[in-house]
Amino acid sequence: MSILNKKQIQYIIFGVIAVLLPILTQAKGSTITLLASIGITAIATLGFNVLLGFSGQISLGHGAFMGLGAYISAYFVSQMELPFFLSLALAAIIPFLVGFILGLIALRLEGHYLAIATLGFAVVIEEIFAELSEFTGGWSGTKTTYPIIFGHKFDKLSVYILIIIILVILMILTYNFMKSATGRALVAMKKSEHAAQAMGVSLFKYKLLAFSISTMYAGIAGSLYIHFFRFAEPKLWGITLSLDLLAAAVIGGLGTIGGAVVGVAFLKVLPTVLQMLPVFGDFDGLAFVLTGVAIVVFVMFYPRGLINIPNDLYHKFFKRKRAENEEVKA
């Protein structure tokens, strides 16, 4: 049993199930698309959670960073004919550097400046995506192919598997990162900025690190997006996408790794479920409204998020001493 309690093993099991699910059920193309888009968005949300859940900052520009990753990746693969993994790496590194510079300016002040600076970044970069048509294809969008890795041409299902593998690797890396000295500094900062500062944690340095790392996740997610959907246009990467990431992180559970996946799954499955219902399916935008309501409700009443519901219910009904112990620890 103890090996199952290891988080890393749990993530791998999750990954195996996620890969086997569509293969064993011989899922339709649309189901694989849904699952893949959950996987891609979960990667970006994982990064968003590092930023919001640990350093307590909001970015409205993560959608834009995803777009940056997508266009960079498509450009290097299609125009420069670089190998897929190299352009994936570039799609991670360049957003990281851009995020670093933006953070350098916006994170020096306490409070909300990052949210405003990234709001501006999102609006401006959308214009840049639209205007730089040699690089992005302008308003008509850009196209690319499924990745070719070591001469092997991928298809829809194998790209999906690749997405899940990268997601699981990132989940494990994030977990290990949170247990490292840097991660512990971030956790300390989340509990109390002043206490952390008093212990010698430089708030600016760690916030900057959290922000740049989280933009790297967004870049990776963007690169996978364009190699799965094989198309991108400027208006995909606006504030709405960033708000989706925010919603997924909040609803799933702030500062948790599994929460990113659960939150995204909730967000992506909700519209499909609503459409199947008789009356509610007719209302445009209902999923949007319910997501907004869910954000408010979770922040106000249950900030621990969906991921913690089973655990909390378990402790509520089978009161164990462990629950109390955990309280003390927290």
């Binding site: 933006l102 214009e127 925010l246 954000i295 408010v296 922040v299 106000m300």
Partner: protein, 290 residues
């Protein structure tokens, strides 16, 4: 020179809208500590209300007035129904909640008013008037006049009346204000009502220049925020002054440098301001006691 003045006048018109929205933002921020990211989208929703009223044969002026009242009610409901019960939530959580309102407004607007953009006319029709070589639309004069009137009235109230004093005291320190017997509950209701109405007014002013659609407020929303950053969140007048600088600069950059890249250039300019004067033009260094 005429062209230059022409651009200044155009800038004053945009500045009026940015300024109203920015004033709404800072009123709510300073008294309740909430950065209201939903300001723009609530304005968008209210612009739909105005356009719907107008489409259903309500006279224009009445439609605008009714919209302002409805906007006030929306602001009141948000404070009274939700934000009031979130006192224990930290500022970050409240900011996230306002982003939830963004999604709610964006979802409700097409549900109520359909997916197609609506039309909303200018308050004053009529041909441009020529003043010293600069041709100005009567509507532009009206927008600038209404804005200046509202600002003058608001700042008079803030500085001279008992209510204004209550708002300023609450903004200074909410705990002390409570101890001094300031009814801070009513202050937050008042600022949410007023702030949302100001956002709606900005939205009804911009509506004739574009169309009433879900994305109509994106530009004003961003510019009102960067106005607040430029002017600083520390004073009530800072963001308004910031808005006038941004509005005029925006037009001048658009005309003399590049209309395509005006927003991008402005954004870089604001980032540079943040480097050298991080708390804005009228900012004060924020000292927090633990």
């Amino acid at each position: 020179m005429d062209l230059f003045l022409q651009n200044i006048v155009g800038g004053l018109q945009s500045a009026s809208m940015y300024g109203l929205a920015a004033l709404g933002l800072v009123l709510i921020y300073k008294t309740t500590g909430v950065i209201n990211f939903a300001q723009g989208e609530l304005g968008m929703f209210n612009a739909f209300v105005a356009a719907w009223l107008y489409a259903n044969n309500v006279p224009l002026v009445i439609a605008v007035l009714l919209t302002l009242i409805i906007a006030g009610i929306v602001g009141f409901l948000i404070e009274w129904g939700v934000m009031r019960h979130a006192v224990k939530i930290d500022p970050l959580g409240k900011m996230i909640m306002t982003m939830g309102f963004v999604m709610i407004a964006q979802g409700l607007a097409p549900m109520f008013f359909g997916n197609n953009p609506l039309y909303f006319p200018k308050l004053l029709q009529g041909d441009p008037i020529n003043i010293g070589g600069v041709s100005i639309l009567p509507n532009t004069i009206l927008i600038i006049a209404i804005t200046l009137g509202i600002m003058a009235a608001l700042f008079y109230v803030l500085q001279k009346s008992k209510w204004g004093l209550a708002i300023r005291v609450t903004a200074e320190n909410i705990q002390t204000a409570k101890l001094m017997g300031v009814p801070t509950k009513y202050v937050s209701i008042a600022v949410w009502t007023l702030g949302t109405a100001l956002g709606a007014l900005a939205a009804t002013m911009v509506a004739p220049l574009t169309t009433v659609s879900v994305t109509m407020m994106a530009d004003i929303h961003l510019k009102s925020f960067i106005s607040a950053v430029l002017g600083g969140f520390a004073t009530f007048y800072g963001p308004v002054v910031g808005a006038f600088i941004i509005g005029i600069l925006n037009n001048l950059i658009g005309f003399y440098i590049s209309s395509k890249w005006a927003t991008a250039i402005l954004y870089v300019f604001i980032l540079i301001v943040l480097i050298f004067k991080p708390t804005g033009i009228f900012g004060k260094k924020h000292i927090k006691k633990v």
